[in-house]
């Protein structure tokens, strides 16, 4: 006699495994006093430019490295290495985001204890990286002015989960090329995430970089205590 068709209760969270691994990685890196930060944005918003500005500003005070995620290229890693910062290239083979296992692969190529700050340059999109915890201490996203002030309406999850938002390419605001409203954007973001830190910057002119770097350095220093 065969088994009857029946309802089996599962009640299991698909993200539970990755979430547990992420918490494990966070705990480990806290003990080892190495700060991991996850940088997310659309393609072309300025992740690599921001990394170049940020590492240049901090390289006399912190030991840093970058984990680069790209679907299938090494262009960004080469740019970072040319600036004198160690970079590990992860090719995600078509994967649209990084999970903890992939981040660990990148960390395996780095001497973690000899580093103060490691950046993850996540895959360029505003959907998938928002849904997977990488194990980073901070989630930071970049929105660039040409993308428009309506992006918080389209990608609420990303804006709701980040600790800081960098608004890049603010030099466009002084031109007739955009009708981006900083106030409208900020209102929309704060609706989703009242406590988020917002840093308007231009990686091209360097405006605003000092405020962002100061805040980041403070976060890293707090972890070291």
């Amino acid at each position: 006699m065969s088994n009857p068709v029946r309802l089996i209760k599962i009640k299991e969270d698909i993200q539970a495994d990755n979430d547990a691994l992420a918490q494990g990685l966070r705990d480990e890196l806290r003990q080892r006093r190495t700060f991991l930060i996850n940088l997310m944005s659309s393609p072309g918003a300025g992740k690599t430019s921001l990394l170049l500005q940020t590492t240049a500003a901090l390289k006399n005070s912190l030991r840093m490295a970058v984990i680069e995620a790209d679907i299938d290229s090494t262009v960004d890693a080469q740019t970072i290495v040319s600036s004198g910062i160690e970079a590990v290239q992860l090719q995600t083979d078509g994967f649209c985001h990084l999970d903890v296992q992939m981040v660990r692969q990148g960390l395996a190529s780095l001497d973690i204890d000899a580093l103060d700050l490691i950046f993850i340059e996540n895959v360029g999109n505003l959907v998938c990286p928002a849904e997977f915890d990488t194990g980073a201490e901070l989630d930071v996203m970049i929105l660039s002015v040409p993308e428009g002030d309506d992006k918080p309406l389209k990608y609420p999850l990303m804006f709701s989960k980040c600790d800081a938002l960098i608004v890049n390419k603010i030099d466009y605001l002084e031109t007739p090329l955009t009708n981006f409203s900083m106030d409208a954007m900020e209102n929309r973001v704060r609706k989703l995430n009242p406590g988020i830190q917002i840093f308007p910057v231009s990686c091209r002119t360097g405006e605003g970089i000092r405020e962002w770097v100061g805040w980041l350095a403070g976060k890293v220093a707090a972890e070291k205590v």
Partner: protein, 117 residues
């Protein structure tokens, strides 16, 4: 876009529970998905059909329940149910607050149950 890794997890979890319950055929799997996630139901089923070939879940139907988004008003603590479309214009129905509505849920991918034999 990330339907493939999500689908792999669904299949793994379903097969694990089937084995634990002595089931030899899975007919349907019910998921509860938060309103903040960006998942295409059609692609989820498509990937599932592909990944589940040669398993006891071959042919199983994914039943997806949209769980919406749950907020809490920081001012008066009222719990509010909303959707992605209404999120920006959402007000607290109790005190009319338009800001400081904390997102409580909407990010989840939860496997509720399955029909199996």
């Amino acid at each position: 876009m990330h339907e493939l890794p999500v689908t792999e997890k669904i299949l793994d979890i379903a097969l694990k529970h089937a084995a634990a319950n002595g089931a030899t055929k899975i007919y349907s799997i019910t998921l509860r998905v938060g309103g903040l996630t960006d998942l295409e139901d059609k692609w989820l089923q498509h990937y599932f059909d592909y990944l589940s070939r040669d398993t006891i879940a071959d042919g199983a139907k994914l039943i997806i329940i949209n769980a919406g988004i749950r907020l809490r008003c920081s001012a008066c603590k009222t719990i509010i149910e909303t959707t992605k479309e209404n999120l920006q214009d959402q007000k607290c129905p109790h005190c009319n607050a338009t800001h400081d509505l904390t997102i409580l849920s909407g990010r989840e991918y939860f496997i509720e149950e399955m029909m199996a034999q």
